[in-house]
């Protein structure tokens, strides 16, 4: 009788002869089962088997570790995903989902909270900076121009004021560093010398402006163009800004020559010889301003200048010796005092220039030359005519090219010559700028004097020498030995005149 072939049954984990748990490496033979029996599982498509409890422990631990969580349910050898079954009633799923939703909400709250904190901080800084900017403009341009351009009411300000004003304090501070010099203030003056005056209901030039508007249809008598010539005095802020870097370089060269003559050495911040500042040492805990550092060195005499006005003590120490070495290692030492002097000095610039300007104004009462230089008018200027863009009567059709051309001409005139309104006002800013320049020169001279005197003090130092009074004479190895140690000792104690002639006087 032929045997009927049994249909092949697919084996499972329980059909193995020996089961080896890949996690705990324990073996179990089929004929020697454990007591009590432990569940085994073959969860994937390769031959790895494990105790169910070992595998569950591994899965639980891996899911809790954020690094391993992705691999928790994957077989390490064949990559097949493990399938779990558990009692997962709807309420549990709901609670988990709810928990996850709360976590996401928490993340959102954190991000939004931090962003709004940062924003409100930034806004506060913005408000402070803008107020300072308005104050600075008032000081520097004088009250009349301030009321023309800005007025105290922020609602009157042109849109670009809200961009330029907060930049002012930062550009003032940056202008004292080597990086920026005068650059940041340029856009400021560019826009403003060409912006229209603020229309307010109660501005100080209300009556002139109404007269101005009514005469807009007529040409002013005796002038062929409504613009002032670009070569005007005082120069417009635009022109001044254009020439400022050159003036600054020329002044610096001149002053370096003077320093060289006085101190016998070049200051370190001379021209381009200064290397980049490699290290900024924040030494905020240091005491006091510290003395000026004057090196009287072997090869190169280097003097540490005090950079910029207001006496910032950003002391820069170079190394003696090689230019390469000096360029390579420049440290900028920032102390509590140097930081304060630097920033405080920068923020005082508008006030200083205003004071100097008013000083010059008072001085100019005694000198007509000064009055001419500062362009102080003895009588108020006639009201400024409106700016016309076209040649010819209004309403005439001008070709496109002509329009573009006259627009460009107008722009150039405004940039170089300033708007007529600007020119009609008292040029406070000009004498303030001149005053500031004078202040800088004076400050540099005072600093140079300070350095020179310090250097002189260092060079003139001597150490006072004392006699050997009070020292036991037997410890001294004198050229002429005293005759009687006791009397000589007593004699020495009494001072020079009573010492015997052969004891050398000290």
């Amino acid at each position: 009788m032929a045997t009927v072939a049994q249909p092949q049954r697919v084996p499972t984990v329980d059909d193995l002869r020996v089961k080896l748990c890949y996690i705990c490496r324990e073996e179990e033979r089929f004929d020697n089962p454990e007591d009590p029996p432990r569940a085994w599982t073959h969860p994937c498509s390769c031959t790895l088997v494990a105790h169910e409890s070992c595998l569950l422990q591994w899965i639980k631990a891996a899911q809790q570790d954020p690094g391993k969580a992705n691999n928790a349910l994957k077989c390490p050898q064949c990559g097949a995903t493990y399938e779990l079954e558990s009692e997962n009633p709807r309420i549990l799923r709901f609670l988990n989902a709810f928990n996850d939703a709360l976590s996401t909400a928490g993340k959102v709250v954190t991000v939004v909270g931090i962003v709004s904190l940062a924003t409100s901080f930034g806004f506060t800084i913005y408000v402070v900076a803008t107020s300072y900017g308005a104050f600075a403009v008032k000081e520097f341009l004088g009250e009349e121009m301030y009321n023309l351009l800005l007025t105290d009411e922020p609602s009157n300000w042109p849109w670009h004021a809200f961009i330029h004003l907060p930049i002012i304090p930062f550009s003032l501070i940056l202008s004292r560093t080597r990086l920026f010099d005068s650059f940041p203030l340029v856009p400021l003056f560019l826009t403003w010398s060409s912006s229209p005056p603020v229309r307010t209901s109660s501005s100080s030039i209300a009556s002139p402006s109404s007269r101005w508007r009514s005469s807009s249809s007529a040409w002013p008598q005796g002038s062929s163009s409504p613009f002032t010539s670009p070569i005007a005095w005082p120069p417009t802020p635009f022109m001044a800004m254009v020439f400022l870097p050159f003036i600054r370089i020329a002044y610096r060269r001149l002053f370096n020559t003077l320093t060289k003559y006085v101190m016998g050495t070049l200051p370190e911040s001379a021209g381009g010889a200064a290397g980049p500042i490699r290290r900024v040492v924040l030494a905020l805990g240091e005491e006091g301003p510290g003395p000026l550092r004057v090196h009287i060195g072997a090869n190169i005499q280097q003097v540490n200048p005090q950079d910029a006005e207001g006496g910032a003590q950003a002391q820069q120490q170079g190394n003696e010796g090689d230019d390469n070495v000096a360029a390579a290692e420049r440290t900028l030492r920032v102390t509590t005092s140097s930081l304060g002097r630097f920033i405080g000095g920068a923020l005082l610039i508008p006030t200083i220039s205003a004071r100097m300007g008013s000083l010059l104004y008072r001085l100019s009462k005694h000198s007509s030359w000064l009055r001419a230089f500062l362009a102080i008018r003895d009588h108020p200027a006639p009201p400024a005519p409106a700016i016309r863009l076209y040649d010819g009567p209004p309403g005439s059709n001008a070709g496109l090219l002509k329009q573009v051309g006259s627009g460009m001409v107008a722009g150039l005139h405004i940039m170089a010559g300033g708007t007529p309104t600007w020119n009609a006002a008292d040029p406070v800013w000009w004498r303030n700028a001149v005053g500031l320049g004078l202040f800088v020169v004076a400050k540099d001279c005072v600093r140079l004097l300070h350095l020179y005197l310090t250097k002189r003090e260092l060079e003139s130092r001597k150490v006072k020498s004392r006699s050997f009074a009070g020292v036991d004479i037997r410890e001294l190895d004198l050229i002429d030995q005293p005759l009687h140690p006791e009397t000589a000792g007593a004699g020495a104690g009494q001072g020079a005149p009573s010492v015997p002639a052969d004891v050398p006087a000290v």
């Binding site: 996690i23 705990c24 422990q57 591994w58 631990a61 690094g67 992705n70 691999n71």
Partner: protein
């Protein structure tokens, strides 16, 4: 007895019975907390002739938790100069972090590190100093 002890006992018994692969030897396994093994890379490799030592540290959850493995740096042994090995002996390897699984063992980790060294074609000029805060890659 902790889970780690049983498993490490088994691994030790396997090593004693079957020996270790070529280039790897067991230096010390005094307790079930710290083991030392030596690794040499054979053949014509960048590390020819150099012998390194690995220090394994196990906690009570091994093999659920990964062992802490680093090269020994002392008077006798130096860390290999390798892109994934820092000068203090720390090793940057996924199997010691996110890719760890209990299917691996002490010997298999040594073999993996051995092949990591062998596969390095160009020896970096200077060893990477260990910088505080550097994350695993």
């Amino acid at each position: 007895m902790a889970v780690s002890t049983r498993r490490l006992q088994k691994e030790l018994a396997d090593i004693k019975r079957d020996g270790t692969p070529v280039g790897i030897t067991l230096l010390s396994a005094e307790d079930f907390a710290t083991w030392y093994l030596s690794v040499e890379v054979l053949g014509n490799t960048v590390y020819e002739g150099e012998k390194f030592a690995l220090k394994f540290r196990f906690d009570g959850q091994y093999p659920i938790s990964a062992p802490a493995v680093q090269f020994v740096v002392d008077d006798t042994y130096q860390a290999p100069v390798h892109p994934h090995v820092y000068s203090n002996g720390h090793i940057c390897a996924s199997i010691l972090g996110s890719e760890w699984s209990p299917v691996l063992s002490v010997v298999s980790v040594c073999v993996t590190i051995q092949s990591m060294l062998a596969s390095c074609k160009v020896r970096p000029a200077i060893p990477y100093p260990r910088v505080r805060g550097r994350s695993e890659h």
